[in-house]
Amino acid sequence: MFSQSSYLKRTIPLFIQTAGAHRKPRWLPVAKSKVYRIPKRPTTSEEERVELLRLHNNYKTQMRAIRRFYHEDMIKEKSTKDSASSEMSQQLEADEWARCFELNEKWNAEISAAREERRKLEIAKLEEYTLARMEAKDKELQIKIKKASEKIREQKELSKTFITPENLDEAIDLAIANPTDYNYAIDMKGMKFEGRDTIISYPKEDKNVAAN
């Protein structure tokens, strides 16, 4: 549906108020009494025509000159005003930007100096840390080497007792001469008697205890 405003915005109004000119409507034909009336053509004398043409030409020329003068004047004025104001504002803006850039340069320089300082400290710290680590590693390695050499020395000491092809017979003889018997027996009291053929003999008082 149409809203109120859409009616109001129409280019052609709904109601047309006619001006009070009382005319014969357009669609009515020429009046009967005037059908054969031929209006007289207006005549102007040659003199008057020339004079009027001169006057008109003069008028038009002068008016054109004035119009052009003012038009050019306006254009000139406008262009000067425009360029002046825009130049002013542009200059102002450029100045503002220059100031900002300068401020930023300063800030950047400050930060870069601070960063250099910080980097130096960090590098020093890193160096210290690395050195400490290297030292610790060295120490560890030293201890390891020491331990290893100790072990080697021990083994060397031990190797004197090893059985080799040279002293194999000796060792066999020794083993035969000194047999080792791992058998043993345990009695009710937890006494341990080593050897298979060991004769079990209790001390005297123990025997009494056993008898009781």
């Binding site: 109001l8 109004p13 109601f15 900002c100 401020l103 930023n104 800030w107 870069s112 960063r115």
Partner: protein, 167 residues
Amino acid sequence: MPFMKGRAPIRRTLNYLNAGKLVLKDKIKVFSVAYNITGQNNVGTKEFCFWYLPQIQYKNPDVQIVTLKNLTPSPFIKCYLDDGRKILIDVDNKSKEDILEHLLHTVGKSKETLDLELLKAEKKDNPANFGVGCDRSCMCEVFGQVPCSGVVPLPKFMRGKYKNQTD
């Protein structure tokens, strides 16, 4: 995004977004922030991105805002101007407040300009205005106002012809 979900949902409230102070100058078209997520010197920039970027984007809807994460060794902000120039702002080891303060002084519009623009916008935006360059060309377009007499004739009781009739 639901209303009270995620990290620091206050960042998405209208009050918080409107409270942003940084309005970038008209010449700035792209605003890029580069930072790393590790390192003590990146903490300020990281927090700046977390807390202030929503506000900046809200206040500058026509500016492209880019964040470059873990692409550069040290954090910085770079602004690209419409005439091809760039501003590099080093933000290494600075707190988020310091960064914002500096940006306000360099790439942000000053308080006076903002006030002026606000005034201008208010003038243009006022729905009560009518005429050339406004929402409506004539007062009579408003519903309930007396229509222009060229469009709809005035009611008779308002017209002198009938009001001041003698006979």
